[in-house]
Symmetry: C2
Subunit: 421 residues, 2 copies
């Protein structure tokens, strides 16, 4: 009954999966709905910014040539011929020793090439006319924001695959992207397996537990940027089960199942893969938790058979399914971001397998420090709550201790890494 | 016309605002919609986990007392009287030298107190009966996960105010929270002001720019965890404008306006505050950008008058409005999280005011390093795209340079800080 499985290294497993990566599709959403989505095209400047010479200050627009002789001893007087706010354009022609009172953001009068800041001018009225005087020289361009200074038309400002943040929202608005090209959310199908599983609203029964994996993975799928279709619990009967998987597969970009992949008498996912004539890419990985993770492909679509154990399930999703999702969101760095951190706990026991320890990463004086986020038995759901990262403890003959440098994979990050293995 | 304003330090400004903080309200949402929301109550274990003694491995449940004499030289035989999967409970009584084949997660038979891992037992059939034999001693509790080992009923597992992540979703499901108590999203009203503003779908006109602030702040409000009602552009006519603000104020928890707060002839927000009989808490802050930020309160509701300048607007929201929102989401640490980082750029020019520089924070060998995310003129929208933090450069007589330690405020973080000032 015991099938022999050969564990492969994590990197090799991910490589096998990435061979089936696909690029995503574009859809257009209103700018009001684009926050948090991923750009499907490079964001380009559709016009110069500013698209006219403008004043960055409240003050007076002048012709700099007129100011040449100004000094503390020789204040020069200018007639103020107009007063324009932002959004307005003067209709006056500005002659010599004339000025225009101008507000922050307003367009420079055509003849003017410098702005005198309000606090450096003395303004007054005489015979019903407005004047101001200055005591220093201005050079052409002083206090003027020139057309195209911030961005040139056609310039690429933000790369596709970037998650849209508030700053990018501002840029989208600036350039008139009322409809934003974003990556379509990949659709991920999800099945849970296990006769021990109760739904969240059901009361506990002897020997049974509530299905936490489906809710956890749904949130992980959401965090990764995709959409989940939860198909419920797989039925116990093989043929019904097979048909359910086959039908679901047609509706989704990839399919995730939790549980049913161990080498055990009651685990029938392998049999389903076989009947589907799916190609099993691997069914054992040299890692803890999650060693029984099985991934298969059927006509180019991936089937992720994650362990039913919550921690193994969590880790399996992040290492194996997330990069495929991120690729479909146009990410250049689809994998979890890897960084270095200082270990602040002891792991004295050696382990032949590479471990992924749920970790609460923190800062201490500008340094990343990593502590396990809870008791690290793989069936303990509690430690998942505080985890914002996974610590990688390579397998071998030694343990790890306080002060060691370790590598960590960030879970809440949107930068990613190109290839962390 | 020029009103004299006295700038106050940032910390003092925040303090004045926090005097009007309010606690949030609870609402219940389906567990399917709770990801990313904030817990409104401590999450408590509603039962022991596990709620029965269970086997963490595939193997054979035995009575440890029977194994006492087992050794390499003296293998002991057990009759296998039942075979149970997860979710099932044996109906058999397990007698001496009897065992039950048990799957991962299944409930221990009442008489058994140890599990022999599958690979350490030799299983065989004889005369239609199943047997297995072992070659070592087991102690009571070996390979058993005991009731309450992971969590005890009534134990507090996650604090209120915590943002719900995938791990917390798993915990919610485990404990039967089909409906989750989360913080109601505060409702934030938003007005833009400025005759220079075009809407995002409008073509450019001389002297006019598209309204980017409204879209930017809407996303910031979303990121902070609240909901926005965008009331559009404030009309130019004072009375219409006053009525619009007054009516909007009744529908929201707080009101944000962008623009219209400078000391300038066309800025009328101060006049509206006056007619409303709102108390102005401050109208100038010793900071760059955002010095003209004005905050007022009317019958306990806060009115945030942010600058029309995109950078000032962005910073003003994060420093002043976000903590009020986070308090309503039950955060104990409502302010932006403050950490230390190494500066990797030069800011040679001294500035009398504290600067908040839009920063792309990164890691280098496990250390936080801070570089400005773009040209740091306050009217340059582009640098907001790459900003994940704000660098604090205290005002004074010196500049800053590469290698200096600086403080940074994290923008994408959900931990926060209690009081960063």
């Amino acid at each position: 009954m015991l099938e022999k499985r050969t564990p492969i290294p994590v990197g090799e497993a991910v490589e096998k999966i990435m061979a089936y990566q696909k690029s995503g599709s574009i859809e257009y959403v209103s700018i009001n709905d684009s926050f948090g989505r991923f750009l499907a095209e490079d964001l380009k400047a559709t016009n110069d910014v500013p698209h006219f010479d403008r004043s960055p200050y409240d003050g007076f627009a002048v012709r700099s040539a007129d100011t040449k002789e100004a000094s503390m001893e020789n204040p020069l007087e200018f007639e103020v011929v107009d007063h324009i706010g932002a959004g307005h354009v003067t209709s006056k022609q500005v002659g010599s020793f004339q000025a225009v009172r101008i507000m922050t953001g307003a367009q420079m009068p055509e003849e003017c090439d410098a702005v005198v800041m309000l606090e450096l001018a003395k303004a007054y009225e005489r015979n019903g006319k407005n004047y101001m005087s200055i005591k220093r020289v201005y050079n052409p361009g002083d206090n003027v924001s020139f057309k195209g200074e911030d961005a040139k038309e056609g310039e690429s400002l933000v790369k596709k695959g970037t998650r849209i943040n508030p700053g990018i929202q501002a840029i989208l608005a600036t350039f008139g992207y009322a409809e934003v090209p974003v990556a379509q959310k990949p659709v991920i199908g999800l099945f849970a397996t296990g006769t021990e599983l109760l739904e969240v609203h059901e009361p506990l029964e002897p020997g049974k537990i509530r299905n936490s994996n489906a809710h956890m993975i749904s949130a992980q799928i959401d965090r990764a940027g995709a959409e989940v279709i939860y198909f419920g619990k797989l039925p116990d009967e093989f043929d019904t089960c097979f048909n359910a998987v086959k039908e679901a597969l047609e509706k989704v970009d990839m399919l995730i199942t939790t549980g049913g992949v161990s080498v055990g008498d009651f685990d029938y996912l392998p049999a389903i893969y076989e009947k589907l004539q799916a190609e099993v890419l691997f069914n054992k990985v040299a890692m803890r938790p999650g060693s029984v993770t099985t991934v298969a492909q059927h006509e180019g679509k991936l089937l992720f058979g994650l362990s039913g154990n919550p921690s193994a399930c969590y880790v399996g999703f992040e290492l194996f399914a997330r990069p495929i999702i991120r690729r479909m969101l146009f990410a250049e760095k689809p994998h979890l971001r890897k960084e270095k951190a200082e270990l602040v706990a002891d792991f004295p026991k050696a382990n032949p397998f590479t471990r992924f320890v749920r970790t609460a990463l923190n800062y201490s004086n500008g340094r990343l420090v990593a502590a396990p986020s809870g008791v690290d038995k793989s069936n303990i759901v509690m430690s998942l709550a505080g985890a914002n990262s996974l610590m990688i403890l390579p397998g071998g003959t030694r343990g790890y201790g306080k002060g060691d440098e370790v590598e960590v994979l960030l879970l809440e990050d949107h930068e990613g890494s190109e290839w962390p293995w």
